[in-house]
């Protein structure tokens, strides 16, 4: 406990929450509202066809235009929040928790454990991800649930490796030795002392990873392995609009804006969280 810590604490008390956390939180909060109650704001049924308005440009009736089925793009962008926020969270939370715990133990224990986990991590990371996802989805069948499984099987090792590397550095520092000298259990040292210092990169990565998960979901949607039609998902919408980039840009641009905006929300929130953790410890 140095003087800096006390200073940092008081700085935390004095300052309001980090600005990026506030703005990121607002974006994500609004996204969550849209994800939970899309029907409140969507003017149309996102799957309803309108043959009389195929590929209609933005207008008062359809602010974001319509797609090649005459479906309202605005309504589809809004309804896609439900699926994409779900992808962001479900595809990453499991890997984050599991990977962090495993990484912390491995980094702390070292020795044989590290060697064994090292092999598992290596084998998982070095296995071409796409082969694994396509294989798992082909065997289990297409759909979001099986996509989470496929992503999770690989995803956890990224967190584990980040946390383990950081723990290895932290455990050599004086305060960890101090903890051992004071007779704390390894569990306590890991979770009370080392992890809070070592988890920052993992959290920063997690928040980025949520944005990446949406992107991955859209790439897989493009390959037909993610959300199934007629469900609205941004990646699928962008893929649908690819052939119409010159003639009906609105089909792909508006979902693109939604991805950027949501990604920005996650990244701002991530930076804010990182700052908060940094100040607190």
């Amino acid at each position: 406990m140095s003087a800096d810590w006390a200073a940092a604490r008081s700085a935390f008390r004095l300052k309001a929450l980090p600005r990026s956390l506030v703005s990121g939180g607002v974006i994500l909060g609004l996204s969550l509202v849209l994800a939970l109650w899309p029907s409140l704001l969507a003017p149309y049924d996102p799957t309803a066809f309108d043959y009389s308005a195929l590929l209609a440009p933005p207008s008062w009736a359809h602010p974001f235009g319509t797609d090649n089925f005459g479906r309202d793009v605005l309504s589809r962008v809004i309804h896609a929040y439900t699926i994409d926020m779900q992808i962001a969270i479900f595809a990453t939370i499991g890997p984050f928790i599991f990977g962090t715990i495993v990484g912390a133990f491995v980094g702390y224990a070292g020795g044989l454990w590290e060697a064994i986990f090292g092999r598992i991590v290596d084998a998982t990371i070095t296995f071409p991800f796409l082969v694994l996802v396509i294989a798992i989805v082909s065997v289990l069948g297409p759909g979001l649930g099986n996509m989470y499984v496929a992503v999770g099987v690989v995803g956890w090792v990224f967190y584990a490796r980040l946390v383990a590397a950081e723990i290895k550095v932290q455990k050599r520092l004086d305060y960890a030795d101090a903890g051992r000298v004071m007779g704390y259990t390894p569990l306590r040292i890991i979770f009370r002392h080392l992890l809070p210092n070592a988890i920052t990169p993992a959290i920063v990565y997690w928040v980025t990873d949520m944005a990446l998960a949406i992107l991955l979901g859209s790439s897989l949607g493009y390959l037909g392995l993610g959300a199934q039609p007629p469900a609205a998902e941004w990646g699928v919408q962008i893929a649908d609009g690819k052939n119409f980039m010159n003639t009906a840009w609105w089909i792909s641009v508006f979902p693109g804006v939604a991805i950027v905006l949501t990604g920005l929300g996650f990244s701002l929130a991530g930076d804010g969280v990182a700052e908060l953790l940094r100040v607190r410890r």
Binding site: T47, F49, Y51, L54, N68, F69, I134, S138, G141, P142, Y222, L223, G224, L225, Q228, P229, P230, A239, D240, K242, N243, F244, M245, N246, T247
Partner: protein, 525 residues
């Protein structure tokens, strides 16, 4: 009268000559953007359209399909005569024809090539010439083909890629112990007699062809074809990139333009957006086995299938999927297939009739079912999404399942699929190929659907030996009637081949069977 006629004739001749010869320019290399690379350039052992559709540029056949894809014209053989009993075919080779390495094409090469193609279990195309019993030669120009039974489609079969003529000596000199190993080695540097020769092949990237100096056919200027010095096939799998490369002038032509871009490219000033008539039909295949996955299968009821057909708004599908490029089907086979019958679109959209049929079939409340969609294929996704909406009107809840091609093929061949998207193009200028797959239950269980009509089966078997064209046409008319009324498909549309070419490119042709013909293609400098 006679003078006028002659004058008209002369004028037409002059006009014709001036129109084509006026601008004709020889030389240059054409760069053509393909969506997928070829796999295996052996005429007999190949498996896919990516090979078939360019093979005729490398390997010539005894006979050639006409430009409309419906008839037969002389190829390496300048004359052919089918005996009256239909059991013997006599062909005469052209004078002085040579392979691309300069060696003469002999009747022995022809006999060997045909026997190799007809050999059982050598490749998957042998069924088209299964009627060939023996091939013998006579003198230095004549080939005699003895048939097991009369075969009305034998002439058409001799235009198909698998009957291409290869040099026996050079093939057998290729390294390898088996026919397949030799074919692999030979196909790396093929020797044929088509208008072009393979110069280099950078797999997955580009294929370069140069003109065959020994090609037999002559151009309009009296000099040997082809006009071009060479063709570069560039592999550009992404549709948008292929089009971009064409509009920026880096390539001269691009195949498989997505339907959604056709109208846009039509209005582009420096491009010709060609829609070549084709034998392609797109349809939904329904598994009609009485039981499926241990449950009763509603699709086994012909009335349900008719209801599903009536509930499909074909015009809307054609708009949504093909952006107006397609036409409604008038029979299970395309209008470009010989002996096609039908002038009215099948099952005009009639929701009331569909509902009534569902009621009669005992499915007033509808049912839940599913369809296999090729993962990421925009056309199939669009068609299936539209069907989902349309069939919901008669209570059918359709679930879309995107799977990759082998997964779908597995379920298809096992007969465990429920419904799937599918498309077909003919390889032969005869209705027997499509009919054998679609209708005749002994080939692949009528598209693996389990559908069977004894009458259609008998008609097909008879038609395969029927040498009277009129009787054969009647047989085909009846088969189409049966299949269109209660068959296991939901026909969607037929479409042309969309190919975009630079305005500088002339004389390129993709015939209804899909073959890309570059022999008479030329390019303005």
């Amino acid at each position: 009268m006679k003078t006028i006629a002659r004058a008209v004739f002369t004028a037409a001749l002059l006009l014709g000559t001036s129109l084509s010869a006026f601008a004709l320019e020889r030389g240059g290399t054409l760069t053509y953007g393909r969506y997928a690379d070829s796999l295996f350039l052996d005429p007999v052992l190949n498996d896919a359209n990516v090979d078939i559709w360019i093979l005729s540029n490398l390997y010539d056949t005894l006979l050639l399909p006409t430009d409309d894809g419906k008839g037969v014209q002389p190829g390496l053989a300048s004359e052919y005569k089918l005996a009256d009993d239909g059991m013997n075919l006599t062909l005469t080779l052209r004078d002085g024809i040579r392979f691309s390495d300069g060696s003469p094409i002999t009747p022995a090469d022809v006999a060997w090539s045909l026997k190799r193609a007809a050999k059982k279990d050598n490749g998957i195309w042998g069924f088209m010439i299964e009627s060939i019993d023996d091939v013998t030669t006579e003198g230095d120009k004549t080939i005699l083909i003895k048939l097991k039974h009369p075969d009305p489609a034998i002439l058409a079969a001799l235009t198909v890629f698998n009957t291409a003529i290869l040099p026996q000596k050079q093939f057998e000199a290729s390294p390898g112990a088996t026919d397949e190993e030799k074919a692999k080695a030979f196909a790396e540097h093929p020797i044929g007699s088509g208008p072009f020769v393979l110069k280099s092949w950078d797999r997955g990237s580009s294929m370069k062809l140069v003109r065959n100096e020994y090609y037999w056919a002559k151009g309009e200027d009296g000099q040997p074809l082809p006009y071009l010095d060479g063709i570069n096939f560039e592999l550009i799998p992404d549709d948008a990139t292929r089009i971009l490369k064409l509009t920026s002038g880096e390539i001269d032509g691009a195949e498989f333009i997505p339907y959604s871009r056709v109208n846009e490219l039509k209005s582009s000033g420096n491009l010709n957006m060609e829609l070549f008539p084709s034998t392609r039909v797109a349809y939904i295949t329904l598994n009609v086995r009485p039981q499926l996955g241990g449950k009763d299968n509603p699709l086994s009821n012909p009335k349900v299938r008719q209801a599903m057909n009536f509930a499909v708004n074909k015009e809307a599908i054609i708009q949504i999927v093909t952006h107006g490029v397609g036409k409604p089907q008038t029979s299970y086979m395309s209008t470009a297939t010989p002996l096609h019958v039908g002038d009215k679109p099948l099952y005009p959209y009639d929701l009331d009739k569909a509902k009534l049929l569902m009621k009669e079939a005992g499915f007033e409340g509808g049912f839940s079912t599913s369809i296999l969609v090729l993962a990421g294929n925009q056309d199939e996704i669009a068609a299936s999404t539209a069907l989902q909406q349309m069939w919901a009107q008669i209570g059918i809840k359709l679930e879309l399942q995107q799977v990759d091609n082998p997964t779908r093929t597995q379920q298809y061949r096992d007969g465990t699929f429920v419904m799937r998207n599918a498309a077909w193009t003919d390889d032969i200028a005869d209705p027997n190929e499509i009919t054998s797959y679609f209708v005749y239950s002994k080939t692949i269980d009528a598209l693996h659907t389990g559908w069977k009509s004894d009458e259609a089966d008998q008609l097909f078997e008879a038609s395969q030996k029927e040498m009277d064209p009129k009787k054969r046409a009647e047989q085909y008319a009846r088969m189409q009637e049966i299949y269109n009324a209660e068959g296991p498909t939901v026909p969607l549309y037929e479409t042309p081949y969309p190919v975009a070419l630079s305005k500088k490119v002339h004389g390129f042709l993709q015939i209804p069977l899909g073959n890309n013909i570059f022999a008479k293609t030329w390019k303005e400098k």
